[in-house]
């Protein structure tokens, strides 16, 4: 049987840290960090994992309705998140808890939507971190539009460089959506300052990668006329270096890049999911050996970049964060029912006003009659 697949040579994977924690080098992606910076990255990874574990526990305890965990994807998230400047803007899916953390979004505010007290939870403009997007792929177009705006401002000001760039997060499954592919086209045609960051965790709920593509995903970009690169998504250093470089290029006016962070979803899709129905335990075991946090821990240890005190105090900090999350989560108030009506529109709308008034007086009628619950 002939095959129409184009041959493009071997798949390259950018790595700066081996699974064993050895620092290696790559001709295109250099990274020169101070000891403190290495430790800071580890701290981000550890805190992200702690947030994720705590939220998972809170779901089990019934405090959250659902949780979409990021276990195993911490390096992809922290590396890309830390590559951004405060002026850059991130458009996440629903799983970018590590990115949120690096942006300075309070992890507690991430819980609101999973608890069911909010459909958002934070001000996107405070930390340049958009709200979580649940409809697969939608946010990639928002990211490109935002980047076009950045670009227009520069063009109007007569500046060749952009003040900032944008990161569009999406998953391997999302790569099949029309919106995501349209976002590639627009970014390419307008040469928009955006980095497409695909966390290829190899699963879209129960569907393995091969249901979405038959070639490595980073190569998708080549068909749209821009560069794609695959990075070891469990290597925080490589992710940081690669994302930094391509964000910088975007700011310089070189247009979009697709980064495929090759990683693995070590947990269930969400707390509602049961991965034993569709994947082998052995796969998970193999990936545990590539754990992004253990790798960085080895690196710090081997190179004496951190001592026991550092790890101990980080454990304490993590624990304190977990306690704050636990308590904060339980204390998150249910919204006032009348909030249903409050932000449907920015300006008054007769129908909403009418329905609000009617429901308010309906609710009030129960208060008048004590003992009859709403």
């Amino acid at each position: 049987m002939p095959d129409t697949r184009p041959s493009e040579g071997p798949v390259e994977l950018v790595q700066l840290l081996t699974p064993e924690g050895e620092r290696v080098h790559h001709p295109d992606y250099e990274l020169d960090l101070s000891d403190a910076e290495y430790r800071a990255l580890f701290r981000d990874l550890a805190l992200t994992r702690r947030v994720d574990l705590e939220a998972t526990a809170l779901q089990r305890q019934g405090e959250l309705g659902l949780w979409a965990g990021c276990l195993g994807q911490e390096a992809a998230q922290v590396g890309s998140g830390r590559a951004m400047t405060p002026d850059d803007f991130a458009f996440p899916t629903y799983r970018e808890h590590g990115v949120a953390l690096t942006r300075g979004v309070d992890p507690l505010s991430l819980l609101g939507l999973f608890r069911g007290v909010s459909n958002g939870g934070w001000d996107p403009f405070e930390r340049n971190f958009a709200l979580y997007t649940i409809v697969i792929g939608n946010q990639c177009l928002h990211a490109v539009g935002y980047a076009m705006g950045v670009q227009m401002e520069a063009a109007r000001a007569g500046e060749a460089e952009h003040s900032s760039a944008v990161v569009a997060y999406f998953g391997d499954g999302a790569s099949s959506q029309g919106d995501v592919n349209e976002s590639f086209i627009w970014a390419s045609v307008f040469n928009a300052p955006v980095v497409f960051f695909c966390q290829n965790n190899q699963w879209a709920i129960s569907e393995p990668l091969e249901k979405q593509t038959r070639i490595p995903l980073y190569r998708r970009a080549h068909g749209f006329g821009f560069h794609g690169v695959r990075v070891d998504g469990n290597d925080v250093l490589a992710v940081l270096a690669v994302t930094k470089r391509h964000l910088q290029q975007a700011r310089e006016g070189a247009g979009p890049t697709l980064i495929e962070a090759f990683t693995y979803r070590m947990g269930a899709h969400t707390t509602s999911d049961d991965p034993t129905r569709y994947r082998l335990a052995a796969d998970l075991e193999a990936w545990k050996l590539k754990d992004p946090i253990e790798r960085m821990r080895s690196f710090l240890w081997k190179n004496q970049l951190a001592d026991q005190d550092f790890f101990d105090s980080l454990d304490e900090e993590s624990e304190a964060l977990a306690v704050r999350l636990r308590e904060g989560c339980r204390a998150l108030p249910d919204p006032d029912p009348l909030e249903i009506f409050d932000h449907v529109y920015a300006e008054p709308h007769a129908l909403v006003a009418e329905e609000r008034a009617a429901y308010a007086s309906y609710l009030a009628s129960f208060e008048a009659e004590p003992g009859v619950p709403a």
Binding site: F114, G116, I136, A174, S176, D179, Y278, Y362
Partner: protein, 328 residues
């Protein structure tokens, strides 16, 4: 052979799909996670294992393509049954549904029938996150060329799905997800008594008619039971089909009771209840002793789940409307 079994609605649907796959090898199941996982609600559980990957197809993550390729498959003679994972994820496919699925038969003057069933778990009440609790049925019922049906209990779920698969028109099959775990005895040996596109009297009554469908049927029956305790005898109609809609059934009932309340989870504004009210006021102008009232969702996005019970019609809101219609 055992023909009667107590089944949840999810299992009744699963059994119906199994029978369809057995009966006609042109039937296919397509969707996200419908294979090994058996769907997020397990409605397609074990079907891929038993019928193979050529009959039960895990698709790439793209709803427009799910519908678009189903149309192509139907043109090749297959009968695809596609699953949209949740109500809020049908919109990427809306273009293929409205411009192709709904119009192809008319465009081709009958030469290209598209016997495709689009299963959509819909509605709220399960404490889910955004986009997982919507009731978009009016968008489809307004669209000529589509048929829209929704069962309210396991027996109907079983039969209506089988009938929908047998239908030569596209059928949007809305499954009330919060009733997936409701149980009933399903007897496969009994032929269904109601045609797919007819409604039924779920509870006969004399004082007032409640018209409802899908997830609200159980709620309305509970409301009727509560009203009975207060001496009110309500008739509850389970519409079952929204396109076509059994207007005759509703009008016949209203002519007896003189009063009508329509209940659905979907927003009241331009919801199916609007059409029912408009038809009934026209056809039963002199029989109506009170205006048709409607109970449903608000003109607002579905709220966070902790307050969803305020959005969803419940016994109190239904009985409040019943009171208002009665006292008018």
């Amino acid at each position: 052979m055992k023909t009667a079994e107590t089944l949840t609605m999810a299992k009744a649907l699963n059994l119906a799909l199994r029978r369809c796959l057995e009966a006609d090898d042109k039937t296919l199941i397509m969707g996200e996670d419908v294979g090994k996982l058996g769907g997020v609600f397990r409605v397609t559980d074990a079907l891929q294992k038993d019928f193979g990957e050529h009959r039960v197809i895990d698709t790439p993550l793209a709803e427009s393509a799910i519908l678009g390729t189903a149309i192509g498959l139907a043109m090749r003679g297959f009968r695809p049954i596609v699953e949209i994972q949740f109500d809020g994820f049908v919109y990427p496919a809306y273009d293929q549904i409205v411009s192709q699925l709904a119009k192809m038969h008319a465009r081709s003057r009958g030469q290209v029938p598209l016997p495709i069933v689009v299963r959509i778990p819909y509605g709220g009440g399960i404490g889910a996150v955004e986009h997982h609790s919507e009731s978009p049925e009016a968008y489809f019922a307004h669209t000529a060329g589509l048929r829209v049906v929704t069962p309210s209990h396991p027996v109907d779920a079983y039969w209506m799905l089988r009938q929908a698969v047998a239908c030569n028109d596209p059928v949007i099959f809305f499954e009330p997800k919060r009733r997936y775990w409701d149980k009933a005895e399903v007897d496969e040996s009994l032929e269904p008594t109601t045609p797919l596109f007819a409604g039924r009297v779920a509870r006969p009554g004399t004082d007032l008619t409640i018209a409802c469908y899908g997830p609200m049927v159980r709620t309305c029956l509970e409301a009727a039971a509560a009203a009975e305790a207060e001496g009110r005898n309500l008739e509850v109609l389970d519409l079952r089909s929204l396109s076509p809609l059994d207007v005759d059934l509703v009008c016949a009932s209203v002519e007896r009771t003189g009063r009508l309340v329509v209940v659905h989870e979907a927003p009241v504004w331009l919801g199916v209840g609007a059409e029912i009210a408009a038809r009934v006021q026209e056809r039963c102008f002199y029989s109506l002793q009170a205006p048709v009232l409607r109970v449903g969702g608000f003109h607002a996005p579905y709220p966070p789940s902790r307050i969803e019970e305020h959005y969803l019609p419940d016994l109190d809101r239904i009985l409040d409307a019943v009171d208002r219609a009665t006292e008018h």
